[in-house]
């Protein structure tokens, strides 16, 4: 099969989704393709920090200014994705006074609201700070749900006539007469994908490579060299919010210096290690130990707290080849627009590399301006003013508890997750029991997520947070899989269950001590002993029924 579009955006992370929305709002015919789920790559593996810019206020003031500007815009247009936690840069005795002052001056120079708190004031904000924290700088950092944000951008792109394809990896770029004219993609099984197994050729007036850490691979398909330097970092998830404010350590760049409260959890980060392959790299015990040990110096109870899993992400770092930084932490977080016509004499394609999640919208605007220039489109960018789907009318965040017959925390959190879509999703005539007790996710939310997720329970998970709490799916994986039936047959439901259970196990392996090891042992008992999923005769082969107890006559 073949299709035609004005712009083909490759990559369904924050940048790609942002570009698709921007172009679609300008009336440009746009198609977005993503190899996996939306946020499959780096976006889905970040710590969820909405930068105030404070983090870059000393080392990279251009980035810092962009961050605070976008921070303000996102709180406005994506209210249902953002939690305004505020952030602290805390000073330990061994951190220098000089750097503390530089940080403060930097924030002010970049128009970032910043306020010095005494030790006592800092502890009023965050009671669990270490007793030897001498003082802190308050900044407007926040927490953001990257998945919700990407989905909202993709939904907006579709509402404006764009086409969004997930589970559609690019198999080849089409280069004709020295020009990129489109791409071939393979449809894989996934939500809304009835064409699984087919190859589609998409012809485009212009192709945008927004594949982040994968940009080099796409460049290879067109014969151009894009030297992205993937750098891995660990994020370790705690089972509760030990802090309600982002806690940064006030010192120059370094590993393991941030705690971000995220929904019901805290996320500790991170490390910074250059890797060769954005998909295959070692996930090491020392990285987990380092973030816990280092951050315990800021918030001592983290040392005793329950860790539920760890995951790793790869930053798509980029610097112009002539810079040649040896240490990945030295590489700028700025983004670069590579016009391959100018750079490589290959028209028809532009790559976007580097950059940060917080400034995704600004990057998208810049790329869209560039692409519109190429296509002769004059419409201007409106993404900074028009709220994203789900954030149009956030006044719906009132008390839904009685209305939906749900106990209080469940109702409140459902509405927070859904934003202005809450009415549509939660108003159901059928009983709406809680399926995931740890995160308070009800059947109606899961059913809503399933309409966008096909049989992929991981896609349900990132839409709803089901299976992301203490038990890591031990109690709810089975219930989520049951929701696939009877629209899908038993074997499909079972396969999806196995995939989700394995995915949950993958991250939980890095947290197997203390309470979480007990939890893992309980999950093992439940799924192997009580449910016999490891010896299931539907998989292991039909037993000789007559050889077993047939009951007393």
């Amino acid at each position: 099969m073949a299709s035609q579009t004005a712009v083909l955006v490759i990559g369904g992370g924050s940048t790609g989704c942002g570009i698709a929305r921007d172009l679609a709002m300008r009336g440009v015919d746009v198609t977005l393709v993503e190899q996996g789920n939306l946020t499959h790559g780096t976006t889905g593996r970040m710590h969820g920090l909405l930068h105030s810019g404070g983090r870059y206020a000393v080392s990279d003031q251009k980035s810092a200014r962009e961050c605070i500007e976008e921070n303000r815009i996102l709180r406005d247009i994506a209210a249902h994705c953002v939690e305004e936690t505020g952030g602290l840069f805390v000073k330990r005795p061994e951190d220098t006074e000089e750097y503390f002052q530089k940080k403060l001056d930097g924030c002010r120079a970049c128009d970032i609201p910043a306020e010095v708190l005494t030790a006592q004031e800092a502890r009023e904000v965050e009671p669990y700070l270490a007793p030897d924290i001498a003082k802190a700088i308050w900044v407007p950092d926040g927490a953001v749900d990257p998945f919700r944000l990407c989905v909202a951008n993709a939904a907006s792109a579709e509402q404006h006539g764009g086409r969004v394809l997930t589970h559609a990896p690019v198999t080849d770029l089409l280069v004709e007469a020295g020009e990129v004219v489109g791409a071939k993609i393979r449809h894989e099984p996934g939500p809304r994908n009835d064409s699984a197994g087919e190859i589609e050729t998409i012809y485009a007036d212009h192709v945008v490579n927004a594949t982040g850490a994968w940009a080099g691979r796409l460049g290879d398909m067109a014969g151009v060299d894009i030297e992205v330097r993937p750098s891995k970092g660990v994020m370790t998830i705690m089972n509760v919010r030990q802090v309600d404010t982002v806690v940064n350590r006030c010192r120059p760049k370094g590993d393991a210096d941030i705690v971000v409260p995220h929904e019901t959890t805290c996320i500790l980060g991170t490390t910074d290690e250059e890797v060769r392959d954005p998909e295959k790299y070692p996930e090491e015990q020392w990285e987990v130990d380092l973030v816990i040990d280092e951050l315990t110096k800021l918030v001592p109870i983290l040392g005793e707290a329950r860790t539920i899993r760890s995951f790793w992400g790869v930053r798509p770092l980029y610097e112009p080849p002539e810079v040649g930084s040896a240490d990945p932490t030295d590489i700028t977080r700025d983004f670069f627009l590579l016009d391959h016509a100018e750079r490589d004499g290959l028209p028809g394609m532009t790559s976007i590399v580097g950059g940060k999640f917080t400034t995704y919208r600004m990057m998208a605007e810049s790329i869209s301006d560039h692409v519109c220039g190429k296509l002769g489109v004059r419409a201007s960018c409106e993404t900074a003013q028009v709220p994203l789907p789900g954030s149009e009318d956030f006044s719906v965040l009132h008390d839904y508890m009685d209305e939906f017959g749900l106990r209080s925390p469940v109702g409140r959190r459902s509405v927070q997750r859904l934003g202005s879509r809450a009415d549509d999703v939660l108003k159901t005539d059928a009983p709406n029991p809680v399926l995931c007790e740890c995160e308070g996710v009800t059947r109606a939310e899961v059913q809503d997520a399933l309409t966008h997720s096909g049989t992929d329970l991981n896609a349900v998970r990132i839409r709803t947070r089901a299976s992301m709490g203490n038990c890591q799916g031990g109690f709810c994986c089975q219930r989520l899989a049951s929701e696939l039936h009877p629209d899908h047959d038993e074997e499909t439901a079972r396969t999806s269950l196995d995939e989700l259970y394995q995915e949950r196990w993958k991250g939980e392996r890095h947290a197997l001590w203390g309470e979480q090891l007990s939890q893992a042992a309980l999950n093992h008992a439940l799924h192997a002993a009580t449910l016999n999923r490891d010896g299931d005769p539907a998989k292991a082969g039909t037993p000789d029924w007559n050889a077993f107890d047939g009951g007393e006559l």
Binding site: S482, Q502, W505, A521, A525, A538, A540, P543, W545, A547
Partner: protein, 413 residues
């Protein structure tokens, strides 16, 4: 002064069995248990050995002698397993079935697989997979652990020798997030004629089914009455499909066991943890029980440790290593915590075998292999060397080692 012949620490299946068998030997027995028993989390099925090296076993007893050195069954021998089951049958005789044969039964799970087990509640009995009678499974919209149509299709895919269908019904009266104990309660008391209301909802789906399976909520105090009443009105046998926590069959088992303990004269104390001990000359002198803010010494001649494994917190861990928290007994384990697990969720996880290593008298041994204390034995999940979840052997190990440890302790006291 608090003193007994035998002090049992832990109130799960192993602890209860140890206390009961010690009391039956004539000892003066005290049982102390910290928290709610984990029995209420277990399915209530009594597994002895369902798998060996991944092979499904029709007869667990044919394989008991082939287990590797250090496995709890190897330590106590097949006879202890028989003795443990005999004690169980005697106490639970009216409530359980399966003692008529040495063969394993295959019981449908809520997911629609089947699992091998040696004893099963009578409420479960009509559901056995080796029976050929046509089956209807009934789930409730609000009880999310059991999707009956899905389980029925799963059983079909497992090749069961009977016709099976599933239907989802609405359970009258209760709110969407009612606890399962609430379901049991209204069925027990037949509030507002709930049983007949239920039957009316199910009857149109019955067809030729000769047995009807429900989630395991058919009464807390009077399951037989509930089952009988529903069965009579439906004109079919009614059974329960057991599931994981919280579990009414587990609670019923716990109640019966504790009644038997009281009847046997065992002193039971729950809610307070054992936090420390004193020893001299290689023997435990007394343990200390934390009661409000003080540590109270409990003296005994013999002690049985039945505090459970990782799930019951009889074994604990940290990034530094794996511990037995009461007596600080040696727990063999790899030093590097990344060697505690396999990458496959159902892999052969070393953590699943964590526990104390014992001699053939069930006395814990230190890292050099020497007996730690002359008068301390371990039983049940706190023992290492078996992946009870993969083997389906948890209850059998608790019964065999609990019975064995209790009897030896009583004889030595």
């Amino acid at each position: 002064m608090i003193e007994s012949d035998v002090l049992v620490i832990g109130g799960g299946l192993a602890g209860a069995t140890a206390a009961l068998s010690a009391a039956r030997e004539g000892a003066d027995v005290r049982l102390v248990s910290h928290k709610e028993s984990t029995l209420r989390n277990a399915s209530g099925l009594i597994d002895v050995l369902g798998y060996h090296d991944g092979d499904l076993l029709a007869d667990p007893f044919s394989t008991l002698d082939n287990l590797p050195e250090g496995h709890p069954y190897e330590r106590v021998g097949a006879e202890a397993v028989e003795d443990g089951l005999a004690l169980f049958d005697e106490v639970l005789g009216d409530l359980y079935a399966g003692s008529h044969t040495e063969k394993n039964a295959l019981v449908p799970t809520t997911g629609g697989a089947v699992k091998p087990t040696a004893r099963y509640p009578k409420t479960v009995a009509p559901g056995l997979a080796s029976d050929t009678n046509e089956m209807l499974l009934v789930g409730f919209e609000t009880l999310t652990d059991f999707d009956a149509p899905l389980a029925a299709e799963h059983l079909e895919n497992a090749g069961v020798p009977f016709e099976v269908r599933g239907v989802t019904a609405r359970f009258p009266m209760l709110r969407a997030d009612a606890k399962i104990t609430r379901y049991a309660k209204v069925l027990d008391t037949n509030e507002k004629g709930i049983r007949s209301q239920l039957v009316e909802a199910i009857k149109p789906h019955l067809g030729d089914a000769e047995r009807v399976g429900f989630p395991a909520v058919l009464g807390h105090d009077h399951p037989e009455k509930v089952r009988e009443a529903l069965g009579r009105e439906l004109g079919a046998e009614v059974f329960e499909v057991p599931s994981g926590p919280p579990s009414l069959p587990g609670m019923r088992l716990e109640n019966t066991l504790f009644a038997a303990l009281r009847e046997a004269g065992v002193t039971i104390e729950t809610g307070n943890p054992v936090v420390d001990f004193e020893d001299s000359n290689g023997r435990i002198d007394h343990v200390k029980v934390k009661r409000t803010h003080q540590h109270v010494p409990y003296f005994a001649n013999e002690f049985v440790l039945a505090t459970g494994g990782l799930v019951g917190k009889g074994i604990t861990s940290s990034r530094e290593g794996v511990r037995e928290p009461v007596f600080d007994l040696h727990i063999p384990h790899p030093e590097n915590r990344y060697d505690w697990f396999e990458d496959d969720a159902f892999g052969d996880h070393p953590f699943a075998r964590f526990g104390v290593a014992v001699d053939t008298d069930l006395r814990p041994r230190d890292s050099a292999g020497a007996v730690e204390f002359e008068n301390l034995r371990a039983a049940g999940g706190v023992l290492g060397g078996a992946d009870f979840a993969a083997e389906k052997s948890g209850s059998g190990i608790s019964l065999a080692t609990g019975q064995f440890a209790g009897k030896r302790a009583a004889q030595q006291s």
